[in-house]
Symmetry: C2
Subunit: 313 residues, 2 copies
């Protein structure tokens, strides 16, 4: 069967277990892989992408390099891993200007630096188009899988919900982001949050949101639970950009690329989670709860699954 | 300036220091990067390549996946890092058959497994042609840089010297490898050697040979020394394949992709190195010595530098 018929999720389900260790800190197919070394979990994550698929109008190589490290770091952080370093694998056309390549790496170094982690080199190859693969490793003393139990609460961390979706929409519609600085900032410099680590040990589970919130919640429900959303964050600028609440909800649910975290919180830990998040300045939005059953619902109505598939765009 | 005018080495020299930490276990531009965590060095390495550039006649996705992990592992091992896990970043055309993608990952898992390390997942993306980026991390208690001092001895580890070069030549000339099982094995399944770790603490320096032996020795000489080769390993099958000693030497010097190690040994450590290598069954060939000055010589005659440049093939 061809990949375009199989689809990306089915392919990943087949590939993820190959060679994956039995007694790993995180199961195959989680946001990052890892091994135990003594009491510590060492996590490794790789994320690749084509330049043209992620460069929104106005973004340059610096922003795309920044985005690359952000994507990998987001997966590590939501697993409660503190990033220790990143590498870049670059495919670059020989006709490319040197300044472009330098910009990519400078942007990656900027994101890494803001996360307190170095760039540790990488590799360059000639390729027909610009493609990046960012890898990162991290240390965790309490690695957090994708996990939920009925009764748990759902929180959304960060403040990029809907904003990156708005920027993506602006890109495809040719709309300007002038007057929407927070939308532009969220899409151009989506720095994952080291503050998540303050919640280590308090959470039931965590998922990176980069496939879009709806898709992420569907993946959560596939673990054997029902997801009931009671509310979603609707920021004034997203509402103003979208022109209405339904349109804004669409951006929150189907945006993607936020590099924010979906957190599953045991009800008895809610107070401690909120207190620690406030102490470190991590925005948390209580979005709903986990129940028995299956599927994803927003105030009782089903949330459609419309994820992005690289092989069936 | 365009990359094809700048060249790969000059580009890497500019990129390697960006964001690289000052107090790292290995300098920027070495075979792998790393950070100290307590007393241990944690190494991270990424190596990418296009399928069509490395798939020799008769190789399939399994062999290319195997080769990918081998390339990354070789860099880690020559730095005296024990590999702990690998990830794959795959760019795959949507028209590709699923079995092809599975073969790539199965080959990678096979190489990783033989090195005692798991695959820890990865990422798939659509791309115009098949490209792989393999990352790996490793733990080292005595990370070994590229380093040499006048008076040091040069050893070549392993037994793939000239053999991979022969297989590459066979590929481009359309020659069969029938009757040359060790040449085929060296090119198709170039497993790096865990046995190198037995030499940890005894060596002055080490370099991965994947750019070709001559190029690797030129990179060593750029550290400020002269390299004097006194002999090179000429295996009977390589001699038979090449048809003459000059032709065989050419394959040893300019083959590349051996994923073997060039080791720099302080003269006082030679006995201990040979004893430990014999104890673990690691083939070592004494090729020459390091002196004051510059350049690379074989029995007094200059060895030309003819490295491969991805941006100026």
């Amino acid at each position: 069967m061809r990949l375009k018929d199989l689809g990306e999720r089915a392919l990943l389900r087949k590939l993820a277990p190959l060679g994956y260790p039995l007694e790993a800190p995180l199961p195959p197919g989680d946001d990052a892989g890892g091994v135990w070394v003594g009491e510590a979990a060492w996590l490794l994550k790789t994320d690749g992408f084509l330049y043209r698929e992620v460069a929104l109008l106005g973004m340059g190589p610096f922003e795309v390099g920044f985005r690359g490290v952000a994507a990998t770091a987001s997966d590590l952080l939501v697993k409660m891993g503190r990033p220790l370093g990143f590498t870049l694998g670059l495919f670059l056309p020989p006709e490319l200007e040197e300044a472009f390549a330098l910009g990519l790496v400078q942007g990656a170094a900027e994101a890494a630096g803001r996360l307190g982690a170095p760039l540790l080199g990488g590799d360059t190859n000639a390729g027909e188009e610009v493609a990046l693969t960012v890898s990162g490793f991290a240390l965790s003393h309490a690695p957090l899988p994708r996990r939920a139990r009925p009764g748990d609460l759902l929180f959304l961390a960060g403040d990029r919900w809907g904003r990156v979706g708005a920027a993506i929409l602006a890109h495809y519609r040719g709309r300007s982001l002038e007057g929407f600085p927070e939308i532009r900032q969220a899409a151009f410099y989506p720095l994952p949050r080291l503050e998540l680590l303050a919640l280590s040990g308090l959470l039931r589970g965590g998922l990176d949101s980069s496939d879009g919130l709806a898709e992420t919640l569907w993946q959560l429900s596939e673990l054997g639970v029902r997801v009931d959303l009671e509310a979603l964050p609707l920021y004034p600028d997203v509402l103003a950009f979208a022109g209405g609440e339904d349109e804004a909800l669409e951006l929150v649910l189907y945006g993607g690329e936020e590099f924010e975290a979906v957190l599953v919180v045991p009800p008895e830990a809610e107070g401690a989670v909120l207190a620690r998040a406030e102490a470190v300045g991590l925005p948390l939005f209580r979005a709903g709860r986990v129940g028995e059953g299956e599927g994803v619902y927003l105030r009782g109505r089903p949330v459609l699954r419309r994820g992005y598939d690289h092989f069936r765009p």
